[in-house]
């Protein structure tokens, strides 16, 4: 168990979530290795996003366990999952619409001044705030949003909102980040840049990624290990090459 724990940051055991008669996630066992990019692919409606929702506490699972960093976090509320070091992005961006780009990132980083007693006294949180602003600009610069820092989120375009999603998640310094279709709707060259940047972070940060994508052409080369889901179940797993040549995978993507 201890070597398992050291090797995997996230492990699900028979994780199951049903909506009425539809079993969206059906006894899913997935392991995310530390400091690696694990990819979860599958067609629309395969249950990928539901899987992320159940892991991060947005939805409660019906069955099964979520083990994160050696701890059973099954059914924890999202803010506790965050504190444990696990965050996720949203496939359909969920920005804080009236806050600036910078404030969106600062909210994600958090500050002790979020307690109202400290909040009322500026010198109790201002130093932390300045450090956070520095952190935020490093990330915003990398995703190309630094010059838009004072724009309110509702004025951003769709592609920029996608980048803001990534920026918020990266800025938290979490141990595991689930990226839910981070490049959906962006052009291939841009998508490549972003994935290269994210992948590069594995070398300099102590972080792991769970990348959820269905654009396999762009994303697959970046993955270290791949799971394929279809209709709520994991139907294949392996190294990217193996999975790409797996007849079951070809079948669901290209058709019989």
């Amino acid at each position: 168990m201890s070597s398992e724990r050291r090797r995997y940051i996230l492990e699900t055991k028979d994780l199951t979530k049903a909506f009425g008669g539809l079993v969206a996630v059906n006894h899913v066992n997935i392991k995310v290795e530390r400091n690696k990019m694990t990819m979860l692919m599958g067609p629309n409606g395969a249950g990928k996003t539901t899987f992320v929702n159940v892991c991060t506490g947005v939805l409660k699972p019906d069955e099964g366990e979520v083990i994160f960093d050696g701890r059973d976090i099954t059914g924890w509320p999202p803010h506790d999952v965050y504190k444990a070091g696990f965050v996720r992005t949203f496939q359909v961006p969920e920005p804080f619409l009236k806050l600036t780009v910078l404030d969106n990132v600062l909210v994600a980083i958090g500050n002790k001044g979020e307690n109202p007693f400290r909040g009322a006294i500026k010198w109790l949180w201002i130093r932390e705030e300045k450090e956070n602003i520095e952190k935020a600009f490093k990330i915003l610069d990398a995703v190309g949003l630094a010059d838009l820092w004072d724009r309110q989120a509702f004025t951003l375009g769709a592609g920029q909102l996608k980048m803001l999603e990534i920026a918020r998640a990266l800025a938290t310094g979490a141990k595991l980040i689930a990226l839910d279709e981070p490049i959906g709707g962006t052009d291939p060259a841009y998508a490549n840049d972003i994935l290269s940047y994210v992948k590069g972070l594995l070398k300099i940060w102590d972080v792991s990624f769970l990348l959820i994508e269905h654009r396999i052409d762009i994303a697959l080369p970046f993955a270290d290990y791949v799971y394929v889901m279809d209709r709520g179940k994991v139907i294949a797993e392996g190294l990217p090459d193996e999975v790409a040549n797996n007849p079951k995978v070809i079948e669901i993507y290209i058709g019989e």
Partner: protein, 359 residues
């Protein structure tokens, strides 16, 4: 005697002060935290009840007068409070200040407790359902205050001890009391503004804009909403207590939801939600117009075909409808509130982006 325009200005200022306090508290809960607070009157009334029920009884007990249920009976209440004002408060400025501050603290605590209790339904209900529940809470307390005599004299009300009596009687007292009221309003404005610009205010806005994203990014929604309701309730109760002190009497009947819930909503919507300066402007415009209508009602009666008293109601209704239709963001829309000076942020940004360009 002061010239009439001075009374007009004092009237505007005192209306402005009380509604600024109450509307700021509403804005914290509704504009910042996104809670549909349709029961603002609850905490305002609680504060007024504290002012009517607590300080008078304390002093009555101290000087050997009736302080139990009989205190709130108007037959006893008026002479007791009259004696308190003349013999205890008038010659004792320090004691008067102490009584005022003590009562405000007790009122804030009660307002905070009511806010905390309101956070239970706020966890389970959303939007319209929550709004209706909070509205019912407010009405429930008003009914208790209106019919349970031992509390604050039911329909006859009670006289409130006058901590401003030491300033004098007549014009100088009115001026003094108004300025003190205004002073409290400005302090509260500075307090909520500093909260609004802090990470706390930002977290409230984040929760308002996307609850699920706020949770995923580590915000405990239950706790944040609870704090907004506690702080908002405490501030509103302070407003209610100050109003009861200023008025010199307290009748639960007059704390109706039109005046203490819907008007603040109209002021907030007019000025701009989620933005304290907008509230400031909205309340200032409204208090001025209301005072003008009140002062010139006789002149108005000769030129308009309805009772001038109805003008206020028509005005509030009209503002809510027109603002919702044509300018839902209010006169002064919510602007990003920077926690650190813009220059400082630009400096940090330059340092980071230029370092990268060199590398």
């Amino acid at each position: 005697m002061l010239p009439p325009y001075v009374y007009l200005i004092l009237n505007i200022l005192v209306n402005f002060a009380v509604f600024l306090i109450v509307t700021l508290s509403l804005n914290l809960e509704t504009g910042y935290a996104g809670i549909p607070q349709f029961g603002r009157v609850l905490a305002v009334l609680a504060g007024a009840i504290v002012a009517g029920a607590v300080p008078g009884r304390l002093i009555a007990y101290y000087i050997g007068e009736k302080w139990g249920a009989e205190y709130a009976n108007h037959l006893y209440n008026f002479p007791i409070v009259d004696r308190i004002n003349r013999e205890i408060l008038a010659p004792n400025p320090l004691l008067s200040i102490g009584i005022l501050l003590f009562t405000l603290v007790v009122a804030a605590i009660f307002g905070g407790i009511l806010g905390y209790l309101s956070s239970y339904p706020a966890l389970r209900l959303k939007e319209a359902y929550l709004g209706i529940t909070l509205l019912a809470f407010g009405d429930a307390l008003q009914i208790i205050g209106k019919y349970w005599q031992p509390l604050v004299g039911a329909t006859m009300g009670v006289t409130v001890p006058d901590p401003y009596r030491c300033i004098g009687i007549g014009a100088e007292k009115t001026i003094g009391a108004t300025l003190i009221f205004l002073g409290f309003a400005i302090l509260i404005y500075l307090f909520v503004e500093s909260l609004g610009r802090s990470p706390f205010g930002r977290a409230l806005k984040a929760m308002r804009d996307s609850e699920v994203a706020a949770e995923v990014y580590g915000k405990n929604i239950v706790r944040l909403r609870g704090w907004a309701l506690i702080i908002g309730g405490a501030i509103a109760a302070v407003g209610g207590a100050l109003w009861a002190f200023y008025a010199g009497s307290m009748k639960a009947l007059t704390y109706d939801r039109l005046t203490w819930t819907f008007w603040p909503w109209a002021f907030m919507m007019l000025g701009g939600t989620g933005n304290n300066f907008g509230v400031f402007v909205g309340v200032l415009i409204f208090s001025t117009v209301r005072s003008l209508i009140y002062v010139y009602k006789h002149a108005l009666a000769t030129i308009i075909p309805i009772k001038p008293a109805w003008l206020e109601y028509i005005l509030v209704g009209l503002v809510i409808v027109l603002i919702s239709l044509f300018r839902p963001q209010g006169f002064i829309p919510e602007k990003p509130a920077l926690s650190v000076k813009r220059k400082e942020i630009e400096r940090i940004k330059e340092a980071i982006t230029s370092k990268k360009a060199e590398a």
